[in-house]
């Protein structure tokens, strides 16, 4: 499978009367996009705005972040199985508006959406302070159930990214990155002495607006599935999560999964990267047991020497992470875990809900309970008062002068468990 990602560098963003990229400036046809999104009769109102790196702008409450792209060759444009007909993702050519992002805003269920600050202290904690953001604030018609509301906003975000992405159709990319891998047999013949490494990507699939979709299929309903890494890098995986903002994997982070990028970079050098197993996180013990058995079975069938496992969320999925770790290690397959910590505001509590002796190689994305103080913004996109009901916020977290106190929990992508974020480790 061969995928060429053409990056068109975006250096500025503005609303206008056409959708285009000229000299790195992305212009979005404001009325055209609003009309496009309003084709969905569940949408009452759409408000578009832009937020640029360095501006004293706060975006709250954020649901998802999506990278605008356009398919140039192969497959289908948009998100196959969701906004367009089913097609194979991961092949051909895709142009990316690199540096731009669509950010969906608006209360969905009144909790567990997040915040993005574009400047200062807040900007340090979220990777999406560095992107030129088109914010899409959606309000829906009265009487929609929360599930229909979530779906409406999810699809609107994807459609907006597709609409904006079209601006890159006839633009020559500034940089082209090729992701190419043959069959597992071909790659193993090429690199017979390199350790065979799988990536098991856990996804929140717990219902109650905590879901992830692959080609439009709710991953709650799947057994762990093998994906070519190119598929995830090419719009196959979508976030439908209204969960703690700090470590949910936004659609943008799926499209640019850092673990996949890093494993690809080492493929043929230090490792033989076999592919990705997409692992649902269930709410029942039977589900957790089944999934961990299944990951081990796939790892054995593929002859993996090692598995990198990344978690999404914290709390009960910690047990899934450790079950997979224990079962693989006992079978002689080395594991390396990526998680984050819910270690209390002083960082002194037990960081994970479960533990295992076999978990000896663990990377932490940060402490979700760490409290940050974010100074007042000049401009709020969305609704500042939402912090009172976000996970990681509390009633009274918004001070009178506009200062916001919250746990990292509320900051989008702040403790990413796929390493797509700003926090790093220091050895003492």
């Amino acid at each position: 499978m061969k995928l060429e990602i053409g990056r068109i560098y975006i250096k500025d963003i503005q609303l206008g009367q056409e959708t285009s990229v000229k000299e790195g400036v992305l212009t979005v046809d404001k009325e055209g996009l609003i009309a496009k999104l309003k084709e969905d009769e569940r949408i009452k109102d759409v408000s578009l705005d832009v937020a640029k790196p360095g501006e004293k702008v706060r975006i709250i409450p954020v649901k998802d972040v999506i990278e605008p792209r356009v398919k140039i060759e192969g497959g289908n444009n948009g998100f196959p199985g969701v906004t367009s007909k089913q097609a194979q993702c991961g092949e051909g050519k895709t142009n990316v508006l690199y540096g731009a992002a669509v950010v969906t805003v608006g209360d969905v269920v009144g909790f567990q959406e997040g915040v993005i600050d574009m400047w200062g202290e807040g900007a340090k904690w979220t990777p999406f302070s560095k992107t030129y953001n088109l914010t899409v604030d959606i309000s829906v018609v009265d009487g929609l159930t929360p599930h229909a509301h979530e779906e409406t906003v999810r699809i609107a975000g994807l459609k907006a990214a597709e609409f904006v992405g079209l601006a890159g159709k006839d633009v020559t990319p500034d940089e082209v990155i090729t992701y190419e891998m043959g069959s597992i047999f071909e790659e193993t013949a090429k690199y017979p002495n390199l350790p065979k490494v799988l990536y098991a990507e856990m996804m929140i699939t717990q219902g109650l607006l905590h879901d992830t979709y692959i080609y439009g299929v709710n991953a709650q309903t799947i057994l762990p599935a093998l994906l070519h890494p190119n598929e995830e890098l090419d719009n196959a995986v979508i976030s439908g999560n209204c969960v703690a903002a700090c470590d949910k994997i936004t659609t943008y982070q799926h499209q640019n999964n850092s673990v996949i990028e890093d494993l690809y970079a080492q493929h043929g050098k230090e490792i033989n990267f076999l592919g990705c197993i997409m692992v649902p996180e269930h709410t029942t013990l039977a589900g957790k047991l089944r999934v961990s058995d299944y990951v081990l079975k796939l790892a054995k069938m593929l002859g993996a020497d090692a598995v990198v496992i990344s978690e999404e969320g914290y709390g009960n999925p910690d047990s899934d992470l450790l079950m997979i770790c224990k079962k693989c290690e006992k079978a002689g397959i080395i594991t390396q875990l990526i998680t984050d910590e819910c270690a209390g505001r002083d960082g002194m509590s037990q960081p994970l809900a479960d533990t295992a002796q076999e978990a000896v190689a663990v990377v932490s994305g940060g402490n979700v309970s760490h409290v940050v103080t974010l100074p007042p913004a000049d401009k709020i996109i969305g609704n500042a008062a939402a912090i009172a009901v976000l996970a990681g916020g509390w009633d009274g977290a918004l001070l009178e002068d506009g200062t916001l106190m919250c746990e990292l929990n509320a900051v989008i992508g702040s403790t990413s468990e796929i390493g797509f974020h700003n926090v790093t480790c220091r050895l003492y």
């Binding site: 219902g207 013990l285 009960n316 047990s319 450790l322 079950m323 479960d354």
Partner: protein, 67 residues
């Protein structure tokens, strides 16, 4: 003490002695797929199981899988 919980391995890790497995994380003692009568019966069975577990002398950590 009896610990009623869905993710038994966590219950074992934290050191509970009497563990009664429950239904699912969002609804440990219920099941939205059932009707009201069935759900009440399920709930009652689980609570009765927990009460019975309290009466059993245990030597170390015990998971009460069956009736």
């Amino acid at each position: 003490m009896v610990h009623m919980c869905t993710v038994v391995p966590i219950s074992l890790t934290v050191g509970a002695n009497r563990i009664v497995p429950t239904v699912a994380i969002p609804h440990p003692l219920g099941n939205p797929a059932l009707n009201h009568e069935e759900e009440k019966e399920l709930r009652r069975k689980l609570v009765e199981k927990a009460l019975r577990a309290l009466t059993v002398k245990v030597n170390g950590q015990t998971v009460f899988e069956d009736q």
